[in-house]
């Protein structure tokens, strides 16, 4: 299945030519989880990235719905 993604914080630096206005589209197997998505993007656990889909931060074990739009974010504790 195809998943459209935007990366925020310092995460986009890992993808050459990344443009925020377009994001990227990746292919994941049906039933793939948030963890699978982060692994595919080679985002390590130490970076503490999280994924929001439909306005909610998802658990790493959550399955990604087909055709989802995912926002990959880094925690910030305040402004």
């Amino acid at each position: 299945m195809k998943v459209r993604i935007n990366l925020y914080g310092t995460l986009s630096a890992r993808i050459p030519g990344y443009r925020q206005s377009q994001g990227i589209e990746i292919e994941l197997p049906e039933g793939a989880t948030v963890n699978d998505l982060l692994a595919l993007l080679e985002i390590s656990e130490s970076q503490k990235a999280v994924v929001a889909i439909d306005g909610r931060i998802r658990k790493t074990s959550d399955k990604i719905p087909c055709g989802a739009y995912a926002q990959v974010l880094q925690p910030i504790h305040g402004g």
């Binding site: 925020y8 914080g9 310092t10 986009s12 925020q20 206005s21 130490s46 970076q47 503490k48 999280v50 929001a52 306005g55 909610r56 931060i57 658990k59 926002q71 974010l73 880094q74 925690p75 910030i76 504790h77 305040g78 402004g79």
Partner: protein, 572 residues
Amino acid sequence: MKFIRVNMSKKNVAVEDVPQEYIGLGGRGLTSIMVNAEVAPKCDPLGPDNKLILAPGLLSGTPLVNTSRISIGAKSPLTGTIKESNAGGTVGADLGHLGITAIVIEGQAPDGELSFLRIDRNAEASLVPAQAYRGMRTYQLVKEIFEIYGESNSVLCIGPAGEYQLASASIQTSDIDGRPCRAAGRGGLGAVMGAKGLKAVIVEQGGESADALADPEAFKEANRTIVKIVKEHPMAGQVMPALGTAGLVAPVNSMGAFPSYNARKGVLEGWEKISGEAMAKLIEERGGNTTHMGCAQCIVHCSNEFVDKDGKYVTSSLEYETIWAAGGMTGIVDLDTIARIDYLCDDIGVDTMNTGVAIAVAMDSGYKEFGDKEAAVEMIEEIAKGSEFGKILGNGPAAVGKHFNNDRVPVVKGQSIAAYDPRAMLGNGVTFATSPMGADHTAGNVVGEYLEQKLDPLNAEGQVEASRNLQIATAAADCTGLCFMAYVALGSPEGGAALLKAINAKFGIQLGPDDVPALGLRVLKAEREFNKKAGFTNQDDRLPRFFYEEPLPPHNTVFTIGDEGLDSTFDF
């Protein structure tokens, strides 16, 4: 360890040893405990009985990184409560270098009289007539101060809004580059300073009379550990230098909790245009600085220098809360306008948050359309002119709501909420409702708990406890002089131990891990006690009605923490 007490009525300056009851206190702990002990709770905040207390943190003036915060305390003319607002820049560290634990401004100058308080590198303090600077904006003021006293000075000052004694007036501090762009913005403390007749505090840099470290070697070791932890922390070491706090625009919109159009929606249309990522890209393209050292001894560099299309300086630093107030709440999705608003607020000396929200309430009342860039800038200029409308705007969102007969005003105890809608981040609503400071994100921000998935922002369970714990931790943090970014990085057991080691090595004491929350509790208790004596009750610890009644898109939820829950926040 000394106090400088300045009596503005008698025009005298006295230096005294720190009284026994205040020894071991710094920053917010000192300002709040002192205000509670020395200020009559029902006094006029703009009268001679209020006191304005400037206190660097416990570690300010030491070699420890990121310790240049200064706390400013008084009874607030905006909220009527006790108030502490802290700022970065350089003045906190400079006062520490002089061994000054606090400056206490008392009394009140005769109407129309204005002074500077000058402190030289020998810690000699004196009042200097400053009539010639009446009405001067802060950037021009600092420029003229440097022409007289030289650039090796730190300045803490007010603009025209402080002189007008407006309830949103800020106290500005100079940054590393000598620009008055750091602010103790909240609570109208600039009005208290204006009412005292004090235009600026000018502190010569390079002082060498800091309090001695009890154990310099242990302190050095603690500093080394803290530097390593801060540098390696994902937020403090990576995201902050890249985007600063503006990096929050994306996460909070993605969670549907970015109060937009005067808190009518939780996602701003076009937020991507004012995100931290967009800001960094624009600054870089124009040749500005996406990362910048704003405060003394900083190793995080979360600051930035926003420039216009010709590469000319506009403001520093464009921050998340300002982007929200001037952009999200007003529907202005244009970074140039937001940066202009930020500059004007610093220059006139008003809180960017209270002012942005006041503009949003005016727009929501039909005075101007949401998204009207020119109107927003013109409204702020009205504050500097001292026009009737400018005074209403400068007194904050509640004053604007009253003027337009609009009760849809997102404030608690008169102070605007911050950039986290209570209906989509329930714990932040608990903090806004119950903080002794009025709505205040710096008093216990729960957003990190949501982003780290420790708590569900829409589920009432655990929100009160999270807010309580963060309010206690923040009250303790605000005593140290450490900035928030470094303090968050030190949240691990290793980081906490290093911070304790630094405090113990400075004072020659043996605090343990339990003493940190105990300090936070002591501060909160003093603040709550002051508010109670001033006439505040649990009924004041509530959000405006519309947060309970009006669902917020996209989650279409309301604030669901009941009164009993709110009243249990401070069950100590």
